[in-house]
Amino acid sequence: MTLQVEHAFTVDMPIGEVWDYFADPPQVVPCLPGAELLEIINETTYRGAVGLRVGPIAAQFHGKAELLEIDAAQHMMRLRVGGDQQGSPGRAEAEILFSLSQVDNSQTEIKIVADVGISGRLAQVGGGMIQSVSKFMFNQFAKCIIKVLENPEPTPGS
């Protein structure tokens, strides 16, 4: 099963600062719902785990995220992520286009367009209404990013 998902939200922060935050992927991991960074393989490849939990359904994926393209001038990056489900035959893959656009001097829109492919029994769950899951997870991600960017923890000692 493949599907395209598209989500966007806005943060109250200039585009340059938002880009600096996202240009360092390990920094973003705590905001990815259920995600854990297991290993930095090289500058553009990371090994990680993603846990998905929707009501009683829980699936754990282990896999890789690879930065395919990064364009600082256009505030855009392309990533490929893929992982195997743990404990059940199944796989999830996605090619993600991440981009920032300036709303005004103090506001930035964060947009994600992803082509997601899911195989195995998970694709059947809920009759395949998996778009809703992506929306739910993205909302959690957006909430976390807004919290982190707009209310940064004071740096210890400063």
Binding site: V54, G55, P56, I57, A58, A59, Q85, G87, S88, R121, L122, Q124, V125, G126, G127, G128, M129, Q131, S132, V133, F136
Partner: protein, 292 residues
């Protein structure tokens, strides 16, 4: 393959709630198991502790409550028990009509109405019927007490409900329909669950529609009330024209999610057809043209 788990057998809803408090995310409520055990077997859910609520004594019955104005269906009552209940046949025959067509007899023999509602699978038959049922509510019990939750507050998202982690659903309350109100449930089924389902409750006095409740299920993560369609019908004379207009409004209000059961456009067209059919039948039953 099912991973090993421990089954707990509480005697009261409070004991069940205590167990849920104690084990947190490692535990879940188990009644019929027709939904839960399937996902556990597929490795899509894993719980070390299952709280079997069938051992709780006072949630196995169907009886009249609120001075005989409502039905109370205990959380451990199976679909099959509802389907064959003379109490339900006398007071809420629509429920029998819905239950007869739910999944298959094996699922109905084991599965419970409350379990179906709590699992919140987006293609649930009972979710759509309860959403439209005038005055329906769900009783949730925990060590903190008992509360009644309305269906539109209960269903939050795909597989997600307002039930807190330490709560169990103890009963479903369905008020008896007043005289002059008819009900109908129409669905289109290709696989085991509906592609789209519509529940309608219509009150008619003389030749005027006094109230309409319409809920559409299986289209998105949770059923929705077609409120614009309901309002359009008030004061109208029952007939094909207002039903077509209301069906169109119900279809425009939908935000369908394409899935294995149908595409967005397919589902929208089914909403038009099924809403019209359900309204037609509910109003005929309200006027006594057809008996349920």
């Amino acid at each position: 393959m099912l991973k090993p788990f421990v089954i707990h057998e509480p005697r009261t809803p409070q004991q069940a709630s205590e167990l849920l408090n104690e084990y947190g995310w490692d535990a879940t409520v188990y009644a019929g198991g027709t939904e839960l055990l399937v996902v556990m077997k597929e490795g899509l859910a894993s719980y070390a502790h299952l709280i079997n609520i069938k051992t709780i004594s006072d949630i196995h019955t169907i009886h009249l409550t609120d001075n005989d104005a409502a039905l109370r269906i205990g959380a451990a009552v199976t679909h099959r028990a509802i389907e064959t209940s003379s109490m339900i046949a006398a007071h809420a025959p629509l429920l029998i009509e819905m239950e007869r067509s739910l999944a298959n007899v094996r699922v109905r023999t084991m599965g419970t109405l409350a379990g179906n509602l709590c699992f919140a699978e987006p293609h649930s038959d009972p979710a759509a019927v309860c959403m439209a049922w005038p005055g329906a509510s769900f009783e949730l019990t925990s060590t903190d007490g008992v509360r009644q939750v309305l269906p539109d507050e209960f269903f939050i998202d795909l597989f997600m409900t307002a039930r807190q982690e330490n709560e169990i659903m103890t009963a479903i309350h369905l008020p008896l329909l007043p005289p002059g109100m008819g009900s109908a449930y129409h669905k289109f089924v290709l696989l085991e669950r509906p592609s789209v389902s519509v529940a309608a409750f219509v009150s008619v006095a003389g030749t005027t529609i006094k109230s309409a409740h319409i809920a559409v299920g299986s289209v998105g993560p949770v059923p929705y009330r077609a409120t614009a369609a309901e309002n359009m019908l008030l004061g109208q004379t029952p007939g094909d024209e207002p039903y077509r207009a209301a069906a169109e409004a119900a279809a425009s209000a939908a935000d369908p999610v394409g899935d294995l059961y149908g595409s967005v456009e397919y589902k929208r067209q089914l909403i038009r057809v099924l809403t019209r059919q359900a309204l037609q039948q509910a109003s005929e039953r309200a006027m006594g043209v057809e008996r349920l």
